[in-house]
Symmetry: C2
Subunit: 192 residues, 2 copies
């Protein structure tokens, strides 16, 4: 049991994990918590896929890296130069060799899929932190296009991956990088 303030401190981006599997029933518990996230008109559009095999994860990392670099070369996206170097490094695994990876996806047709999936992702990250686990949303891992790999994840053409989240037991919980104070542009106060 921890206070909300402790939970906020524990929910940090974790990329360095103990070499210890996350039991599937624990992943299922976390995903059950995630179903309590609000969604537009209570549509509950999110679908999940869980990867616990490091070899499969490596293949998914390679695919996402290749797709991102191709889009950059084709000028469909403009990657930051530091990301280009990182993605070109064969030894860089976008999923940081985590013991577990959860994909949050949903129908392309759902207009509010991005925000609904992000809310579910926040629930996953808090639910994991509350159980002593660490997570990191790895946006570089979302570009999976190869039909065979998508098939293995159960993601048909009409589903879009929004949030790949790595999960495991953290080696350490780093302090939060500095945040600026909330930028409150206006306060329209109650008329007296």
């Amino acid at each position: 049991m921890m206070t909300f303030s402790e939970l906020l401190q524990k929910r940090r981006a974790i990329r360095d994990f103990e070499d210890k599997a996350v039991p599937l029933p624990l992943v299922e518990e976390i995903l059950r918590d995630a179903t309590l996230a609000p969604s537009a008109s209570n549509n509950q559009p999110c679908r999940f896929s869980v990867v616990q095999c490091r070899k499969a994860m490596k293949n998914l990392s390679d695919e996402s890296k290749a797709c991102l670099l191709k889009d950059h070369d084709d000028k469909k996206i403009a990657l930051n130069p530091q990301y280009v170097n990182l993605l070109q490094d064969e030894n860089f695994n976008v999923f940081y060799n985590a013991p577990c990876l959860i994909f949050v996806a949903g129908p392309k047709s759902a207009g509010s899929l991005d925000v609904d999936a992000a809310l579910a992702a926040a629930y996953i990250m808090f639910a994991a932190a509350a159980r002593g686990l660490g997570t990191c949303w790895v946006a570089l891992g979302a570009n999976i296009r190869d039909p065979q790999l998508r098939g293995e994840l159960g993601f048909s053409e009409n589903l879009r991956i929004v949030a790949p989240i790595i999960l495991g037991y953290p080696k350490a919980i780093p302090a939060a990088p500095e945040r600026h104070a909330p930028e409150i542009l206006r306060v329209i106060a109650e008329a007296r």
Copy 2:
């Protein structure tokens, strides 16, 4: 102090509030918690505006309703018929006469604004629930285009509103509407 499971139960969509103001320092505390939300490349793109005046809130509700109905008439969006009736009802306030309203917005140029703002919104909703307050993300309240109203909120042309969140002391905390079990499409298990 509450367990995470209690926090999940308390974080419900609340639309019926006590007639009791939310002190600004409490709103500021909640927004400070929201700055701890993760964001793509730690960009922290979110900006906030707080409305505590019910007259201003009514004007914002009227503006958003009118803009949505215009877009529907112009066939830019296709509203569900039940929403059309609701939006045409003069007495319907999209913000449910809440004592407080927080807008989460950010630069249109930020590619991941939707998900970054949704993560901040999740933090706001949990931070409020942890303090005995209720919230509801009111998507129907996001369509504020009138330059004067936008100016009063401090939202220049280059900012986009993602999440209007009403805030107050709940009259009651309803049970969660039914959720389906998490749809886990595949589990790719560790090779033995």
